[in-house]
């Protein structure tokens, strides 16, 4: 066997054999796997890890055994959910169930209608709460493009000790401004309302706008309404709070930024889902005892905050098991007593009757029942992106390109007047509405 016998021909033949050997088993495995049904779910990595434990290790496992289905769950970080959804739609391949954290009306053409699931759930549990209905239903096509199993309230978190010391309750935005300023002056602790290009800021600032009587669009969802006196007043209020009692870090945050800020013991007040106080309970129980929850601050017009998250599932048109996926959602909603407890009250039921005695459960919290009880009325003071209209594809783009946070940030940074910034936001929104209105 001399080296001269190793010709190009023999090399290519050898390479062919190796390639066949390498790909053969893969093809076999694919065939073998296709024989059993698998339900593939993608959703976020929950801020309360106990919920993922319950969902992955208990609920999906038991549901799979009961229905003879293998269930896989892929968890995706908050910031990557939208990009992952876009990739799946682009490839026309992916999970059977995809969980978004805010309504995705732009994807309506690529998802199965959820009208049948909503009807089924309404028969069992009555109607979903109003904000869920308005955020996931397209009145033009009479179609539910997503099915929300839960939503998340967005209360104020504040330091009971410091706010008590300055004798102010964060009940209205004027009180928030006054109390935060006094705490910063007296104790050096800043307030923490994010003005950054991220999810939490998007929610908190919308609540502020509504409480001043401002809104992004009109009720018909066709006309931009952001440039108003109320918007200008809301921007001026937040700029004042920033200048008097916050630092530049509010421009740097991602969705976990305000949590870390508050749980570190540095901040006097934030607006966030209860993951902040729950984290403190686990990491620093003594500090958590000094933390209180309150409904969103009232403005001159009303008391209103945004839902912090609106978790909703879609079933892609290219999903391999759409019927199975829909059955899974129905069964999940039916199990919301367990889900509510597993999420440590983070996930509020979109169908309220799917959780029995919610107030009683809150009152039985072993750590601080009194604080959590304020969440029992959360539906009354919560709205959704696009309020008072519906959450449309145009609102979706406004939301995900951070038009509202940037409107506030430009003024807080002294780059524009409140009036000019509101005008710029209006122009930006009209441009976006024009694109989606065609």
């Amino acid at each position: 066997m001399g080296s001269s016998q190793f010709t190009r021909r023999s090399f290519l033949k050898g390479a062919g054999v190796v390639a066949a050997a390498a790909t053969g088993p893969t093809a076999f495995v694919r065939t073998a796997r296709a024989q059993g049904k698998t339900l593939k779910i993608a959703q976020w990595t929950h801020f309360v890890p106990a919920f993922d434990d319950w969902f992955d290790k208990k609920f999906t496992k038991e549901w799979g055994e009961k229905n003879g289905v293998h269930v896989t769950v892929d968890h995706i970080s908050v910031n990557d959910l939208r990009a992952r959804a876009a990739a799946e739609v682009g490839a026309r391949k992916g999970h059977d169930l995809f969980g978004f954290l805010d309504p995705p009306p732009a994807y309506e053409d690529q998802v199965h209608s959820m009208n049948d699931v909503v009807s089924e759930l309404e028969k069992k549990f009555g109607k979903a709460i109003n904000l869920v209905q308005r955020a996931t239903f397209n009145p033009r096509t009479k179609n539910y493009f997503a099915l929300s199993d839960n939503w998340v309230p967005d209360p104020l978190h504040y330091r009971l000790d410091w706010w008590g010391e300055v004798g102010v309750k964060p009940d209205s935005w004027d009180h928030v401004r006054e109390g935060a300023r006094k705490i910063k002056e007296k104790m050096g602790h800043p307030a923490g309302f994010g003005i950054s290009q991220e999810l939490d800021t998007n929610m908190m600032l919308r609540g502020l706008l509504w409480s001043f009587g401002a809104q992004e669009q009109d009720e018909s969802s066709t006309k931009v309404a952001i440039n108003s006196k109320a918007t200008v007043e809301a921007i001026k209020l937040m700029t004042a709070v920033y200048k008097e009692s916050m630092t530049n870090e509010v421009f740097t945050w991602d969705p976990s930024g305000n949590n870390r800020f508050f749980v570190s013991g540095k901040g006097s007040i934030i607006q966030n889902a209860i993951s902040a106080i729950r984290t403190a309970e686990k990491q620093n129980p003594d500090l958590a005892k000094k933390m209180g929850l309150a409904p969103p601050a009232a403005g001159p017009k009303t008391r209103m905050g945004s839902e912090h998250l609106l978790h909703c599932y879609v079933v892609w048109k290219f999903a391999e098991n759409p019927d199975l996926a829909k059955k899974f959602i129905i069964d999940l909603v039916a199990s919301y007593n367990d889900a509510f407890l597993a999420s440590e009250f983070y996930n509020f039921p979109s169908f309220p009757k799917s959780v029995t005695d919610l107030r009683g459960k809150l009152a039985a919290d072993k750590f601080n029942a009194q604080q959590y009880l304020i969440l029992a009325d959360a539906e009354k003071w919560s709205a959704y992106p696009g309020y008072p209209g519906h959450t449309t594809a145009a609102i979706d783009e406004v939301f995900n390109t951070f038009v509202i946070p940037n409107m506030f940030a430009r003024v807080a940074k002294g780059e524009q007047s409140a009036e000019d910034s509101a005008k710029q936001a209006e122009a930006e929104m009209q441009r976006i509405f024009a694109k989606w209105g065609k």
């Binding site: 290009q197 530049n248 740097t252 540095k266 783009e397 390109t401 940074k413 694109k435 065609k438």
Partner: protein, 321 residues
């Protein structure tokens, strides 16, 4: 060996005109005319599939009304997306940011890479370790490295701020918020981008430096040229082609990459670090306006085309010489 020799002698015995007949009898896989195109075909298909098709698709998307979940490619709407984008102050700011980010980062990369490469041509203790450390940012996954920097410059737990405070450079009450002030945020993303690209440019320049004939430097030393004279009148002119290549590669990386900005600032504060590539991503992928995103990204095309032409000309000149 005998087999090969036998073949050669047989071919030699064939009269002129008979070679073609013999060649056609040779197995296909032994023929250059057949095997050559076959071997190059995967590369051509790769470029066509992963560069050509997406590029043509983006050209069409930019003049369509395609949305993220459109079932087809959308309707042709001419230049409407471009006119819409040009009306956006965010776009104009991103355009300026893109040039600032690219020009400043490339200037820094070239200067620092030249200094590092010059140091690495000298002999010193631990040189191999230094060389390894310099290369590390290039071989580490970019997202991983950038997440590391995100924590290094965090508003609450920044080790950088902690060290500066320990050295009494800054008081605790005025920790710089690296991503919270427009200028600091831009400096931060440029700094991390420079950190990432520096190894690549250093290696290229190092290769250029080692190719300069030793006699040239020795002759200049004999003539009494000092360090700076040698640098400016001999080394840099000789390095010019390779510096151009390093610079042009760097420009392409800086223009097209959004990872550093996406991970560190997401374009903030108030669009202060938003560049065209990140804005295209936010608009097209997160916002759902695929056509709008494609139109934004295509504003990069003329500049990248110019860079590509210059690069090809330099490559051709080097080939000729």
């Amino acid at each position: 060996m005998g087999k090969v020799e036998g073949k050669t002698s047989a071919l030699e015995a064939v009269p002129l005109g008979g070679t073609a007949v013999r060649a056609s009898r040779r197995p296909l896989l032994d023929r250059e005319s057949f095997l050559g195109p076959i071997m190059i075909l995967p590369a051509v298909l790769y470029v066509l599939a992963l560069v050509g098709v997406p590029f043509v698709l983006s050209l069409y998307l930019a003049v369509s009304d395609a949305k993220i979940a459109s079932t087809g490619l959308g309707r042709f709407i001419g230049l409407a997306n471009f006119t819409s984008v040009l009306q956006s102050p965010t776009f104009l700011r991103s355009l300026v940011n893109t040039f600032v980010f690219t020009v400043v980062s490339q200037a820094l990369v070239l200067v620092l890479a030249k200094i590092l490469a010059t140091c690495l041509t000298k002999q010193f203790y631990g040189k191999s370790i230094v060389r390894f450390l310099i290369l590390l940012p290039w071989v580490a996954p970019i997202s991983l490295g950038t997440i590391g920097w995100k924590w290094m410059l965090d508003s609450l737990y920044s080790p950088v701020n902690w060290v500066l405070q320990a050295l009494h450079v800054i008081p605790q009450s005025s920790w710089p918020m690296w991503f919270g002030v427009r200028e600091l945020a831009m400096a931060s993303v440029i700094g991390v981008h420079v950190w990432r690209l520096l190894p690549f440019a250093t290696v290229i320049i190092l290769a250029g430096l080692t190719s300069i004939p030793r006699e040239v430097e020795e002759a200049s030393a004999v003539d009494g040229a000092g360090f700076w004279s040698r640098e400016f009148y001999i080394v840099l002119p000789l390095l010019r082609p390779i510096l151009t290549v390093a610079g042009l590669f760097g420009i392409i990386f800086a223009f097209t990459d959004m990872t550093v900005i996406y991970v560190l600032t997401r374009g903030g504060p108030a669009d202060g670090t938003q560049v065209l590539s990140s804005l295209a991503f936010f608009t097209g992928i997160l916002g759902g306006d695929l056509a709008g995103g494609a139109a934004i990204s295509l504003f990069l095309f003329p500049m990248l085309l110019l860079v590509a032409v210059v690069m090809l000309r330099i490559a051709r000149r080097a080939e000729v010489s």
